[in-house]
């Protein structure tokens, strides 16, 4: 039986959609107001990572599969988006689509290999596959190796919106983020999502009920990879740079950390976690290497003491679903 949701978590009461809707409204309002108060570039980056974390959470929180190599999809989508925009002159919407398609394809191949095993083996396989693709990125000419793909043009969206304007870019990223977020929400609260949760709880029982669990797991995997790809492809356009950092295993580790801190298996957890970790990295940048230590310490304390994460703890205390 493989699932990571803590058996001690009390099942929330029936008021399901209300708390989540309120949460969604608050989150959207905050994100609309924020660029007037904080550095927009930072916020856009945070939203990309939040979407990445939400995509990752789809697998671990709702299917119970720990993908330890999710940077593969994020990073390769970033590369293809950057390359198609720069070298092939794609407009931003096509570039992001190209990146996303790449991630989906990688997800399909990696997923079919990894699904054959479960639990820890699954995690190790995803990690090893991601590392293989890291080395491939290191060697391939078009990725620019250590230098990455630089000077990616922001371009003009749909031939209308000039993305060099920070606020226009921000609006586009906000729409992409909210779209991805709502898509994940729909997946979770759909019949398909219920089967996924059933697989998480007790895969043997799901099989005995007649569900082809491998197929469901693969579809979930591909969806998760694709959404991670959307995040990566968007990030490449926003920051105008795609580099090895995006495909390397510390990036995979970071998305796990973000989700863990925010709350596995909650819908807002990854968003909160992503913002929290990015703010921490930002603020602590002057003291450089301590960031790594602090991230490790947060990991350890979350695993030992705060398995539900920030949002998970709040949701548990208030008996609501978040």
């Amino acid at each position: 039986m493989e699932h990571v949701a803590d058996p001690l978590v009390k099942k929330p009461s029936v008021l399901r959609s209300q708390s989540e809707t309120i949460g969604f409204v608050i989150m959207t309002a905050a994100l609309v107001v924020a660029p007037f108060v904080t550095y927009p570039l930072f916020l856009m980056q945070a939203m990309c990572f939040a979407l990445f974390a939400c995509a990752f959470n789809l697998l671990i929180g709702y299917v119970g599969l720990l993908s330890f190599g999710h940077a593969l999809y994020f990073g390769w989508a970033s590369y293809l988006s950057a390359y198609s925009a720069k070298a092939w002159g794609f407009p931003p919407e096509l570039a992001i689509l190209t990146g996303t398609a790449t991630a989906a394809l990688c997800g399909l191949v990696a997923g079919s290999l990894a699904i054959r095993r479960q639990g820890i083996y699954f995690a190790m396989i995803t990690l090893a596959l991601a590392q293989m693709m890291y080395f491939f990125a290191l060697q391939a000419k078009f990725t620019g190796g250590e230098d990455g793909i630089q000077a990616v043009p922001r371009g003009v969206l749909f031939g209308l919106i000039n993305l060099k304007n920070e606020m226009s870019m921000y609006a586009v990223v906000l729409v992409i983020f909210l779209g991805g977020f709502m898509f994940i929400y729909r997946i979770i609260h759909s019949p398909f999502g219920e089967v996924l949760k059933a697989i998480r709880e007790n895969e043997a029982r799901a099989i005995s009920l007649g569900y082809k669990t491998d197929r469901y797991k693969l579809v979930a995997f591909v969806l998760s990879a694709t959404l991670a790809g959307v995040a990566g492809a968007t990030k490449a356009i926003v920051l105008q740079l795609a580099s090895l950092t995006d495909v390397n295993w510390p990036m995979s580790g970071e998305v796990v950390l973000m989700t863990l801190v925010g709350g596995l298996g909650t819908i807002f957890g990854p968003v909160v976690g992503a913002f929290a970790i990015l703010v921490m990295q930002f603020k602590l940048a002057p003291i450089g290497e301590w960031v790594l230590v602090i991230q490790g310490a947060i990991f350890v304390s979350c695993v030992l003491l705060f398995r539900r994460g920030v949002i998970g703890e709040i949701a548990n205390k208030l008996h609501i679903r978040l």
């Binding site: 699932h3 596959l129 590392q131 293989m132 060697q139 295993w249 790594l292 990991f299 695993v303 030992l304």
Partner: protein
């Protein structure tokens, strides 16, 4: 000097030998991982960091007490193994009742802490550690120049690996260990202190990593990220060999080192990824690994 498939024999045998050296480290590290996984069912992600700690401990021992390589080879694994015991007692014990993935996440977090602290105090460039006097120089074998130290690495790893395998598979202590893996409650009923065995096993696995670290210090330079660069390849080795198999870890470790060396000669661009490609193939054909038991 003759040619094989168009490659001069010098290059071929030279790379094979280097592959064997790399394989020694793969074997030692995957042995430690296999021992820990077999006993605790935990993937020790901090294995790479503990390997790095072994190298740093040797460096610090030299710096502050003047004791060189040979004492460090014994002292460093003991010190790092001891920290492993503390980690097991303090953290890992609490996670045995939970899903195994938590153990992976915890040791991952510990790895970040160890690497971050090392980076803070020592920077991320490599620190020098000289080859011990008695092992300097080399032999001109005709087809390549083999530094004595690297020959020692191969020999020492073989001895340790075979020794560990022997203890686990052929001695009574090893029998207790294997029994405790299969059915801890029953073994406890026989009066054997299973929790203590688990703690000591973890400590032993960690000290194996540290031992590899001390051996690596003179050739690979002592740097905080030396472990993280290596650990993922070692994970792939363990998956190929079969997660709980001691023999699998040793054979696959040496074997893959040689394969990597060969790839460097015939197809250098693929040398980094060949281990992972093999892993993908093995998973398709034999999901339990080459020497693994259950599918």
């Amino acid at each position: 000097m003759f040619e094989i498939f168009g490659i001069p024999s010098t290059a071929l045998f030279g790379q094979l030998l280097i592959g064997l050296i790399n394989g020694s480290f793969y074997a030692l590290l995957s042995l430690g991982l296999a021992v820990i996984f077999g006993m605790l069912n935990i993937i020790n992600f901090s294995h790479g960091a503990q390997y790095m700690m072994g190298a740093f401990t040797a460096y610090l021992i030299l710096k502050y007490s003047g004791l060189g390589y040979w004492p460090a080879l014994i002292i460093a694994p003991i010190i790092v193994g001891f920290t492993g015991i503390i980690v097991e007692r303090l953290f890992l014990q609490r996670l045995y009742k939970l899903d195994h993935l938590y153990g992976l996440l915890l040791t991952f977090g510990l790895a970040l802490i160890f690497e971050g602290v090392a980076r803070n105090y020592f920077g991320s460039a490599g620190l020098p550690y000289t080859v011990p006097e008695s092992l300097r120089g080399g032999q001109n074998l005709g087809f390549m120049f083999l530094p004595n130290y690297r020959a020692w690495v191969i020999a020492a790893s073989l001895v340790i690996c075979i020794g560990t395998w022997f203890v686990i598979e052929r001695t009574r202590l090893g029998a207790y260990l294997r029994a405790a893996t299969e059915n801890p409650t029953l073994v406890r009923a026989f009066g054997i202190n299973v929790p203590r065995m688990i703690t000591l096993t973890y400590g032993f696995g960690v000290s194996l990593a540290a031992f590899a670290g001390v051996m690596a210090a003179p050739i690979y330079n002592v740097s905080p990220q030396m472990g993280s660069e290596l650990i993922i390849v070692v994970f792939a080795v363990v998956v190929i060999g079969g997660m709980g198999s001691i023999l699998g870890a040793i054979v696959t470790g040496f074997g893959l080192g040689v394969v990597e060396g060969l790839t460097k000669v015939f197809f250098p661009e693929a040398s980094n990824t060949v281990v992972f490609v093999i892993m993908a193939i093995v998973l398709l054909v034999r999901p339990a690994g080459l020497f693994g038991r259950r599918a």
